[in-house]
Amino acid sequence: MTSLDILFASVGLITAASAVLAVTTHQLVHAALWLVVTLGTLAGCYLVLGAELVALVQLLIYVGAVVVLVLFALMLTRAPMGRSPEHTSSGAQRIAAAVLGAGTTALLGSVLLPALGGELLTARVGDTKAIATQLFGSWVWPFELLSLLLLVALVAALAVSRMPATTEGEPVSLVPATSTEGESE
């Protein structure tokens, strides 16, 4: 065990534990807050692996933007504060999900670990300049396409959230349409 091994193991343990808490907690807002811990410590993992630019982008976009979006969505859908037993699924469904999740872990592990698990990784530091050169050189067209994708996603999110709430034939919504009309903007 090298010192970087111990560093990665300690950060990774926090990541795994908070990920488990994020999917098992019964309080909706706590799930989003445990997601903050998971994504933040994952940025720490990237730092240990020597990818400081990716770690900073992870902090900016995931912890800064995505989690705020999730919290806003919880707020706008009137997520109850405190424990909400009506949102917990049945025991059989949870057991089936746990078996499938463990199966996913075992399947991925049985492929990845024998193939690559024995190798040693020499963490490199300070190649942000090389990444930037490649990003705006070889990868510039995919990069521009991504900016187009973001624009399309923005317009699509606006269009979906401004769609009329009910059409004929659908049941009347439980919430008056006028009270939720302004929230989506």
Partner: protein, 99 residues
């Protein structure tokens, strides 16, 4: 020097936990949290491989940046759909049959 089985085990654990979250949760926003965990396990695999097999194009790191951008676009559209669902049904409980 890092032994590679450490990040790879974290990749497997995050993917499994995310799959559990997608299948066990009833609230649509909490299902999206599971999707985010799966996406992040893919990101960690990209970064790990980018650090091990560093090539001239920096493929691992650049693709991670692209994937983070795509995930941001995805969560924006997905949350707009969830809000539209809430407005038309009054709840976002995925275990209830659709209207």
């Amino acid at each position: 020097m890092i032994h590679l089985w450490l990040p790879l085990s974290l990749v497997c654990i995050l993917a499994g936990v995310g799959a559990y979250g997608v299948m066990a949760r009833r609230n649509a926003v909490l299902v999206l949290i599971g999707v985010e965990l799966i996406l992040n396990s893919a990101n960690l695999l990209f970064v790990t491989m980018g650090s091990v097999r560093g090539d001239a194009l920096q493929t691992g790191y650049v693709l991670t940046l692209f994937l983070i951008t795509i995930a941001a676009a995805e969560i924006g559209v997905a949350l707009a759909v969830v809000l539209a669902l809430f407005r038309s049904r009054g709840n976002i409980d995925l275990s209830e049959p659709g209207a």
